[in-house]
Amino acid sequence: MDDIITTENLSKSYGEVHAVSELSLNVRKGEIYGFLGLNGAGKTTTIRMLLGMIRPTSGTAFIKGKKVHADNVELWKNIGSLVEIPYSYPDLTVRENLEIIRRLRFLSDRKSIDHVIDKLQLGEYSNRRAKNLSLGNAQRLGLAKALIHNPEILILDEPANGLDPAGIYETRQMLSNLSENHGVTIFISSHILGEISRFASRIGIIHEGKLLQEMDTSQLDRVSRKRLLVKAKNLKAASLILFQKGFNVTLSENEILDIRDKDAIEKPDVIATLLVNAGFPPTLLQVEEEDLETYFLRTIGMKGGVK
């Protein structure tokens, strides 16, 4: 697969503060790359460097093999972007705001505005001034500006901000469709991990300016921790039986037995049989897999991961 976005030891410092440190990542053609991090982790600084808005202190960013810098205007022809909260000219209508982008992108087809208004379901608001839009619709307008020219590459910073659940779902479907059916490469930053885990094909975790991990989401199943949760009417007796059979059992705060042994997780039926035969049938038997959020928190060393 071709690398579409590449960074090599990309760093940005503000005096003593290292906003981004030696970040090297690769985004391949057609993939949705989820760039995860807490607020202030360095996501927006990285995105601004990818868009030539901030000059790196050291390192380089490449898009389609071309070095990113402010004067490389040809580069932006095939890139759509949305940085942080999208703001538009408040006194201009939705249509007029899009007209400005259409002209600055040299799109001769005036219908491109109608198409993107339809795509983002902004028809009802097309003649409304941007200052009178709800946060969700302002976000849609931001996405419309990013998508008006049908770009090959989308660089989106927290695009789900302000959208309601239906809007988040629609955006997710739209981005998945662009990636799967049109080969659009999407670099998307977010701190809403559950959202990213639903449709990203690859994730990168950034924390305190450093890229901690980069992996395919399909790998998450392999690296995420799992545990078997067991409940029974007599927890003490059930726990003793499992302990005697060599399982490492702990009693969690909410009165559930927590077993981390690989054998138990892979064969919960064995545990069930053991407990039934001993006369303490389980009332709950559940293999719980760490979700992306928990995995992320564990990776950055914060509470919340499966301990």
Binding site: I54, E74, W76, E96, I100, L104, K145
Partner: protein, 262 residues
């Protein structure tokens, strides 16, 4: 050229929908209106007595004979001051709004060079200021006729037009440092503070006799009648003003090109 045209058209679109253009036009009509009112009062002392404070002020201004020469002389003096503030405000708004509305980031990663965006903004500012100057000029003439100012002649009008255009042009050239400060500070406050400061300094340097060497005093001195001691502009004055303008222009271009756009 296509880039510059596209950037220029979008700047016009932004301006068209804004109330700022009409507000500044009203302001540039209001001032000659006030001026002509003062002249009218000066010409009619019986009205001055009835108007109390306004009448007293009109008399205090000592507008002299209240003829065309005095009228236009006063008008150009006011233009020098109102031009600095008005044109400075226009520049602060055109550049500063991109930051206060947080729209600047949306026009950076586009196929149009940032330098064209800066140039098109400056072009729009130039055109806007010329419109304001014409509004001031035309309303000044119409109001002067309406209040019956005496002593109209082709020579005076020609002379007035020349001084008026020169003062305006020199003031417009001083917009570029304001554009730089609006970009540097990402908003309106610093450039507007700077505009007010330069106006104060222009008056102070004018009084101190070094006005011809202080860029922001130069447009005002252009309108001062010939032969006034310590207020005569020389080649050095114009060179200083042009260098200031160029520094502002290059600084703004460099800021948009090289500074981090956070």
């Amino acid at each position: 050229m296509r880039s510059l045209f596209a950037a220029f058209v979008t700047e016009c679109l932004k301006l068209r929908r804004s109330r700022m253009l009409s507000i500044t036009i009203l302001l540039f009509v209001f001032i000659p209106l006030m001026m002509s009112l003062m002249f009218y009062i000066q010409k009619h002392p019986e009205i001055a007595a009835k108007l109390g404070l306004i009448g007293t002020k009109a008399n205090l201004l000592q507008l002299g004979k209240a003829d065309t020469e005095a009228y236009f002389g006063f008008l150009t003096q006011i233009l020098a001051a109102i031009g600095l503030i008005g044109f400075g405000f226009v520049t602060s708004w055109v550049f500063g709004r991109e930051y206060s509305d947080r729209t600047a980031k949306d026009i950076l990663a586009l196929p149009v060079k940032r330098s064209f965006i800066v140039i098109s903004k400056l072009l729009v500012i130039g055109i806007w200021c010329i419109i304001l100057m014409l509004v001031f000029f035309v309303s000044g003439i119409i109001l002067g006729k309406l209040i019956g100012i005496s002593g109209w002649s082709v020579e005076i009008i020609t002379q007035f037009t020349y001084i008026f255009a020169g003062t305006s042009l020199l003031t417009i050239l001083l917009c570029t440092p304001v554009a730089f400060l609006a970009s540097y500070s990402r908003g309106y406050l610093l450039p507007m503070g700077f505009v007010i400061l330069t106006m104060l300094l222009a008056n102070f340097t004018g009084l101190a006799g070094v006005g011809p060497y202080f860029p922001w005093a130069i447009p005002g001195l252009f309108s001062v009648p010939a032969g006034t001691d310590g207020m005569q502009l020389g080649a050095a004055s114009y060179i200083i003003l042009i260098i200031t303008s160029l520094l502002g222009f290059v600084g703004t271009l460099a800021w948009w090109r090289f500074a981090d756009q956070k």
